[in-house]
Assembly symmetry: C2
Homo-oligomer: 291 residues x 2
């Protein structure tokens, strides 16, 4: 495995995450060369203008064949389609990474296609993201201080893992190691469930109080529904590749919600006070904890 500084890195998919990674790598001269790959000519043009890559191409096969590190930064189900072909284009011994939002299916797919080709696979998930999409929404500070989950495939090898870790370090993110199941269960709860909730709240307000709810919508509603405006295709890929964990989270949360509803309907002041005080204490702890 080559050191990062001497590596050619191909970034496949130049949306917010892919273009942000490219901009950091180019600006910090962290590697020898960054090749941006996208199917859309306008995306390639925008990425070059933003210095998210040294060169830009639609030729996935050639870019992967030249690269020492390939980073898949496409939506999750596209990643699942690309792993079989991309791992075939790459040089044996090189590193394949992804930055998809769910990890179980991706790690299983990589296990099937990468090992016997001697492609080292390390799954990644940067826990950052703004609203917006495409290279124009990229931001070199996107990863600063945020968690970046790394999940190496069983046969990735410690030297390869060090390269992946160095890359995350260059991005300014904080490495978190966990296994794919714990990752998927956790993000189902802290990210996918909040998205499902935001979507449900938005539709509920439109269905039940179409006139008055939009007129009164204040801070709490705007905060609670903000992520409902996320990209449909991206969310759909996340939901459909983490079905079991999200389903479980929804059922468990729904039960808790109904319990609180019952406490409110029956006016159980003692129980409500306990619930509110505990949630308030936990949320204040989260505010003061480092991100």
């Amino acid at each position: 495995v080559k050191p990062l500084r001497e590596s050619i890195i191909a970034i496949v998919g130049l949306g917010q995450i892919g273009a942000s990674i490219g901009r950091v790598l180019v600006a910090r001269r962290a590697c020898r060369r960054v090749i941006g790959v996208s199917r859309k000519a306008s995306t390639l043009r925008d990425a070059l203008q933003l210095r998210a890559a040294h060169e830009a191409t639609r030729d996935l096969a050639r870019a992967c064949a030249r690269a020492d590190v390939v980073i898949l930064a496409t939506p999750v189900r596209t990643i699942l389609r690309q792993i079989p072909s991309v791992s075939g284009f790459m040089k044996p011994g090189s590193l394949l990474m992804d930055v998809g939002s769910t990890k179980g299916e991706i790690l299983r797919c990589a296990d099937e296609h990468c090992g016997w080709r001697r492609i080292r696979f390390v799954g990644g998930h940067p826990m950052s993201g703004h609203s917006g999409s495409g290279p124009s929404s990229s931001d070199p500070a996107l990863f600063d201080g945020h968690p970046f989950v790394l999940i190496p495939a069983p046969r990735a090898g410690s030297r390869t893992i060090r390269i992946a870790a160095e890359l995350v370090h260059v991005l300014g993110a904080r490495i978190v190691r966990m296994d794919a199941d714990v990752h998927d269960g956790t993000v189902a709860l802290i990210s996918h469930l909040p998205h499902v909730i935001a979507i449900g709240l938005m539709l509920e307000a439109a269905a039940e109080r179409p006139g008055s709810s939009f007129r009164l919508a204040a801070g709490s509603f705007r905060d609670a529904t903000r992520v409902a405006a996320s990209d449909t295709d991206m969310l759909l890929d996340i939901f459909l590749t983490n079905r079991r964990a999200i389903g479980k989270s929804i059922l468990s949360f729904g039960k808790r919600l109904l319990k609180t509803g019952l406490d409110i309907l029956t006016g159980d002041e003692k129980e409500l006070r306990r619930t509110l005080a505990l949630a308030g204490r936990l949320r204040r702890e989260l505010s003061t904890s480092s991100r």
Copy 2:
């Protein structure tokens, strides 16, 4: 009814809302005199220092007897306790307002105690608020451009309603007229339900994934749980005075959540795409609409 400029206004309760109102009235010389009322000496001191009142007192009865307008800015259940006594202290023909977050019980209470004493009652609810509490969290820009619901009691009279409207106008808020039931049903959905959800999410994360969820908590979880840190007593008063509407909202929302959970578990891509696209469109409309 005296014009606002010649009125003595007593503000009972100098928390974030009460002190913010006082600061605007004093700064804009909108009335003859502002009397701040609180039980706590430290609150009175802070309010005077912030110029949230011209004078400050613990003597509720005397302040109300002198005032042409009394604004109750205490938690909802305190307002319910104060209406019977305060309406007894006030001069016949003067205006009593409140700024509590639920309106049905308050309007019913006012109906019982104010009319026969010739106290004109106008219920209010400013749809604004930051985190924090007490006079130190007040902000003269708190109401700028935000909705401020006004619900006059049946016998308030048009001249009195005009005074209340002028006061809201001075605060920089946007008057929204609706009846108490529509108000309580709407805020149950767009404010109280999001609070119940934020509390539930916080407790769910702590119960199900105590280690990993806090380590990965990113934007969507922080946004979705922000209001869980709200003041326990204030929330408790809101929940317990709007029980039926909140209960209904929780049940209706819970049903929607479970339906989406089923779509995810069964991988119903077509239905999910429809749901996500519609919610996304509605949320983007909300973002572009004026507040």
